[in-house]
């Protein structure tokens, strides 16, 4: 069984790559807006269907449409954010809980809309990347790396690095970080919280929609697919520490590796039990996530 270890680790890292793409922007939007967006899976689903139809209509590879999909969904997020901002900035009741309920409602509404608009069948997005794989047997390793999953990992790393650069090296990022730390103080320093929040939410929705295209190429798509990804996004972000962006890649990789190793070496039917037991233990020891830096 030990000869399977290199493949188990490879599969775990590639699976972790998928989880990074699902959770990274979700973490960013929580860090800035302090809203747990339960509609994250639905943004992924809408992006997946947009990629599916663009591919169907044009016959071009769905990866070519990623910039278009980002711009389109950035616009959607930019327009919707003020509505969420209004819910979150209310003075009566508990705005945080209202935000949760609002995004939960959005998710249900989006799911129903998708069912009506796209139908109930599962589908798949064809891509040139889905065809091949790299076999490392000539190097003496019993490892196969599917091209499309490797592209997914590359995409995850690229998104992580771009977000890191944006947050750490630009004035916009300085404003975002200031807003995440203290909204009122950031406002006094000239950060326009409404506009910055709209940009951040737009970026988050745009990235989530692009992730949908990737997932449609690797796995499958359907009107009800979102719920599953919302759970994983939430899991990764909690494990990383709520709003702690730098922890997301590590938490995602840990989740992928645990799943992969457990599936191969232990009882696969208890994979999710193992994953949530680990989350529980980590939160018990470090309630603010893996690195103790969450909100």
């Amino acid at each position: 069984m030990m000869e399977l270890l290199p493949q188990a680790l490879t599969d775990g890292i590639l699976l972790g790559g998928i989880y990074i793409t699902i959770a990274i922007a979700f973490s960013l939007t929580y860090g800035v807006m302090h809203v747990i967006d339960f509609a994250v899976g639905e943004w992924i689903m809408f992006g997946a269907f947009t990629g599916y139809y663009l591919n169907k209509w044009t016959g071009l590879d769905p990866f070519l449409f990623l910039p278009v999909i980002f711009v389109l969904y950035f616009g959607v997020g930019y327009v919707i954010q003020p509505v969420i901002h209004r819910v979150l900035s209310g003075t009566k009741g508990n705005p945080f809980l209202m935000g949760l309920v609002f995004t939960f409602g959005l998710a249900i509404m989006f799911r129903g809309l998708a069912l009506t608009a796209f139908g109930f069948y599962s589908n798949s997005i064809p891509s040139a990347f889905s065809e091949g794989s790299f076999n490392l047997e000539p190097l003496g390793l019993t490892v196969t790396i599917p091209t499309v999953r490797l592209v997914g990992l590359g995409y995850a790393l690229a998104i992580t690095l771009i977000l890191h650069y944006l947050l750490k090296k630009t004035n916009f990022g300085l404003g975002v970080r200031a807003l995440a730390q203290h909204k009122d103080a950031a406002g006094l320093m000239g950060v326009n919280s409404k506009r910055t929040g709209s940009y951040v939410y737009g970026i988050y929705v745009g990235i989530s929609a692009m992730t949908g295209v990737l997932l449609g190429c690797i796995l499958s798509i359907g009107a009800q697919m979102g719920n599953e990804y919302t759970i994983f996004a939430f899991f990764v972000v909690v494990l990383a520490g709520m709003g702690y962006l730098a922890g997301v890649p590590w938490a995602a990789l840990l989740l992928g590796l645990v799943q992969s190793i457990f599936m191969i070496y232990f009882n696969p039917s208890h994979t999710l039990l193992a994953v949530f037991a680990i989350l529980y233990i980590i939160l018990l020891i470090s309630p603010r996530g893996l690195f103790g830096k969450g909100v």
């Binding site: 493949q7 599969d11 699976l15 069948y121 589908n123 690797i218 359907g222 039917s269 994979t271």
Partner: protein, 413 residues
Amino acid sequence: MKFGFVRVLLLIAALFVAIPVHAEQRNFFKIGVITELSGDLVTGGNITKRGYDLWAQEVNAKGGIVIQGKKYPVKLVYADAQSNPAAGAAAAERLITQEKVDFILGPYSSGVTLAVAPVVDKYKIPMITGSAESPLIWKNKFKYTFGTIPPINFTGATSIKTLTEMKPAPKTIAIIGSNDAFSKATAESYKAAAEKAKLKIVKFSIVPSGQDMTPLLSAVRSMKPDIIAFGGHDEEHVKFVKALKQIGYTPKALLMHCGITDKAFIDAVGKDGEQIFGTTCWTGTAKTKCNVLWPNAAAYAAASQKAFNNPGDYTQGGCSAAGIAFQTALQKIGAKPGMDEATRTKLIQALEQIDVQTFYGRVKFATSGEFYHANVGLDPLTIQIQGGQVKTVGPKASVEAPAIYPMKEWKSR
């Protein structure tokens, strides 16, 4: 204080006592339908809906069900089980106590059916599920629940037997099932059949529903099984085929069940769906003959194509056949809409006695044993996707085309 305590006790007791269902006078049959119209199993739920709708549409187009010379139309009242057994049970309560339906057409999934069956037993309302296949349903011997699709432990062995007759004969098999009532039962039925056929089982795993199975399939690949058999639902089938292709392993035969006979599966996976084997009990080309609603399978497939732009699969057909079974039993006892408990009991007896030829084949419910109230009138079929079409490749008496074995490598397609 004491009086308050007594009232609470009475209230709790009331919750456990079935509210008697009073009959309503009406000139149409009011039929409750509980199925998965949202949630993870929405595809299957909507396929069952198509089957029930097509039956109702055809019955109403003919003026209704003829009872003692008078025609009574049918009206379907839907309740969404949300792919959740608890929601299914609550929906059954509502349909029975508030909508006062005459009888029920049952859910898509075995899990929801297992939750609804005790409710219909409690209220003594007959139900036929046109889809659920888990043997657990029939082992529980629910008096008021019937099913038109034979249980998977009745059908699954046929496909394994067909595969063992291939040349060169397969020697090893890996079996994987998703962790839900139906899929798990499918995997277990394949396991039992493989053991009987003396195939070496190199892997048997039940995995949580909806998971990415790539790591598990990587492990399976290292065991190089001749056959991989999978029990799951539609979306999982698409993921499964893609994962196998991504890791670059083509078994000699890939066997799956549920939904692969639907055109939508073939559309979703395209050329990768070619040569996949499946288990079913009906196809649109099955040689059936009857005189109720549709004369044969081809006529039903044509009607479905016209209504839904899809010829329908065995689940949809099973649901339409469930309607025909009720129709036949109602006519047999001359039951009119707004049935009382005594009539509903007679309906159960009539359902146990019917032996009817339909476009779906023979419908005959078992009245004892492990298949109690499941349809045992059908012969299971092994199918294979060839040229984008579903072809019957076994058993020998039903063969439409020779099986293609071993499967063509993914990369050479």
